[in-house]
């Protein structure tokens, strides 16, 4: 009895608050939504411009340059398989979603990580926040997003962005802090300015760690693909979500296979790029 009054109170209070935010911040959320969906639409348009085999060839070339010929061919075959299953459009919109969210996460995460790497007190405040973001179940981020941005890719993007950002921040900050002491000393003894110390010493040493952060951000973003299907992300996530609801198991398995293929191809490509950065940055 008593408790239901409290929850009712809380619910009306939340609704009022959201309504207030919606009324007063509508222009802001509309702007954010347009920005997110604009970026997403742009990337999607680009990915859908060439036919599927061109994308497969690009993947093959990248795989060949970054790993080896066999991996390149394998990547191309795997992608062509997605098209054969009739899921090419969905695969590309999932790729666009993941790419958009990851790019946003990096655009915010890398600079924040750099600042955190230089300012220990900021890093101390940031760490528990990042811990919290990574501990909470990712569904949580859909709630405020859907309340403020509505059903559609923008909400999926925001939630994916939030989940993808922590690794980029963490590993950038780590990379900046991990500059070997002897090289800091070299910089000081050579009379470097702070800016030179950053660009010529700290950043080059941080690149492998930052690259690892990019890879992890991307993987976190892929982890959100299916979850984001609930809020109308489009793409494979929504296909799976829809198929599961109608018990169309075959379609959902096909879509799941496509997700796995896409994830693995991008994981291998970015990981090799990261390893290359470590091997001497040539």
């Amino acid at each position: 009895m008593d408790t239901s009054i409290i929850t009712d109170r809380f619910d009306t209070w939340t609704d009022d608050a959201l309504a207030w935010i919606n009324d007063n911040g509508e222009w802001l959320f509309e702007f954010i939504r347009m920005l997110l969906e604009g970026t997403y639409d742009g990337i999607l348009w680009l990915l859908q411009l060439p036919p599927f085999y061109i994308i497969a060839i690009i993947a093959a070339l990248l795989g060949w340059r970054l790993i080896n010929l066999a991996s390149g061919i394998l990547a191309a075959i795997a992608l062509i398989f997605c098209a054969v299953m009739g899921l090419w459009a969905e695969t590309m919109s999932t790729l666009a979603l993941v790419a958009t969210a990851t790019i946003l996460a990096l655009v915010v995460g890398i600079p924040v990580g750099i600042v955190a790497g230089f300012v220990p007190s900021f890093n101390r405040v940031l760490e528990p926040v990042l811990d919290l973001i990574q501990t909470l179940p990712p569904y949580i981020y859909l709630l405020p997003a859907i309340a403020l941005l509505g059903y559609g890719p923008a909400t999926a993007l925001i939630a994916t962005f939030i989940v993808a950002m922590p690794p980029a921040i963490r590993l950038t900050s780590l990379g900046i802090r991990m500059t070997p002491r002897e090289f800091i000393e070299l910089g000081q003894a050579s009379g470097l300015t702070s800016w030179q110390m950053f660009t010529k010493i700290r950043l080059p040493f941080a690149i492998p760690s930052i690259m690892a952060g990019i890879n992890q951000s991307l993987m976190m973003a892929f982890g959100m693909v299916v979850i984001a299907g609930i809020v109308g992300s489009g793409g494979l996530g929504e296909t799976i979500y829809g198929a599961v609801r109608t018990l169309d198991i075959a379609t959902s398995i096909n879509a799941a296979i496509a997700i796995v293929i896409l994830t693995m191809v991008l994981d291998r490509l970015t990981q090799s790029a990261a390893r290359r950065a470590k091997a001497g940055g040539r």
């Binding site: 070997p180 003894a189 050579s190 009379g191 300015t193 010529k200 080059p204 001497g280 040539r282």
Partner: protein, 363 residues
């Protein structure tokens, strides 16, 4: 030959009563040192602070190679890092080229490090993402020298250290000795007047090491640079240094030429270091000869004028050769045409063994 006095007597680096104390309560410890003159042990007990360098005074002249020698933990690295202010002194003044280093502002300090004082590290610290050439050009790049020019200078420096064919390689493709040379070339390319070297050769095998020691000395001298060179190996210090400072527990216990340190060690610590050193090329005629009158008294049968002659700077090796050539067991030491002393076989043996002089028991 090594001489303490060089073409110029201008003092480039001057350290006066410098202290460095590490620890949370360093300021209080410094106060206690200034007021009461506490010892290293007392400071560790009373303040839980480590004394890195204790009351060190030294000067380095233009064109001189000054070695700092001591066991691990004796404060060598701390002392050399005080010279270019990588570490702030707790007490005392350090003057480089007439300027008090502690008074320089950030920009002046950067400028001094970029132009006047180069440093070569034990760890070499070559940037792994740059080629050998780009590494050697690093100091000039920092100063904003245009690419063509700095690469030209760096190439010339690499040529000097014998790495002209390796410019396009990356550091991980080079051996340890070659990396050390790149480190040296990097310091030389920036053309500083003073080069600080913190145990640059200690990780190398003996052969390469000896070769680099000779190359370093010859290069430094031919370019007219001054250097402060740290080592924990007395033989290295003797090979390279014009003068040597010996450190123990942060204190400089003796400063002098190799010969002075070997023939007149200041205390047991220095004697222990000196014990294993070959004196044959260190000890000179002037420090083992005896006065002519004394020789005449003990060897009435010899005619001093008939002895083979040599200069006061001849080392024991040369004296042995001369003694072997003559049928007498003594060599006359001559300066400006007059005999100033005589080196007997006995004195030679004493010089080699390092035993102190005393009268022979009557035979």
């Amino acid at each position: 030959m090594k001489t303490a006095m060089n073409d110029s007597n201008e003092v480039l680096i001057d350290c006066q009563n410098v202290w460095k104390i590490f620890g949370a309560r360093a300021p209080a410890a410094i106060q206690a040192v200034a007021d009461r003159g506490l010892s290293k042990k007392q400071i560790l007990q009373d303040f839980n602070c480590v004394v890195g360098v204790s009351d060190a005074s030294l000067h380095v002249r233009r064109g001189e190679i000054f070695c700092i020698m001591g066991l691990s933990g004796s404060g060598k690295s701390t002392l050399i890092r005080l010279l270019n202010r990588l570490i702030e002194p707790s007490l005392g003044t350090i003057t480089v080229k007439g300027k008090d280093v502690a008074r320089l502002n950030a920009a002046q300090l950067r400028d001094m490090r970029a132009r006047n004082i180069g440093m070569v590290f034990q760890s070499v610290a070559l940037l792994p993402n740059r080629t050998v050439l780009e590494n050697a050009a690093f100091g000039l790049e920092v100063r904003g020298v245009a690419k063509d020019e700095r690469h030209k200078t760096a190439r010339a420096a690499l040529e000097k250290v014998g790495l002209a064919d390796w410019t396009a390689r990356y550091p991980n493709e080079l051996s340890g000795g070659m990396q050390q040379r790149v480190g040296l070339a990097r310091a030389l390319a920036a053309d500083p007047e003073i080069i600080l070297m913190d145990e640059p050769f200690s990780a190398l095998d003996p052969l390469i090491r000896r070769q680099l020691q000779d190359e370093f000395r010859q290069l430094t001298k031919s370019l007219g640079k001054s250097a402060v060179f740290i080592t924990h190996d007395l033989e290295e210090a003797i090979r390279i240094g014009d003068r040597i400072a010996i450190m123990k527990d942060g204190v400089i216990v003796q400063v002098g030429t190799a010969e002075e340190i070997v023939t007149k060690p200041a205390d047991d610590y220095v004697s222990d270091f000196v014990a294993g050193i070959s004196r044959i090329h260190l000890v000179k005629a002037h420090s083992v000869m005896q006065p002519v009158a004394k020789f005449r008294a003990s060897h009435p049968q010899h005619d001093v004028e008939a002895l083979l002659r040599t200069s006061p700077d001849a080392d024991i090796g040369e004296l042995i050769d001369l003694t072997m050539q003559s049928n007498r067991d003594a060599v006359a030491v001559v300066e400006n045409g007059t005999v100033i002393g005589v080196v007997t076989t006995r004195a030679l043996l004493r010089g080699v063994a390092g035993t102190p002089e005393h009268e022979p028991a009557a035979a």
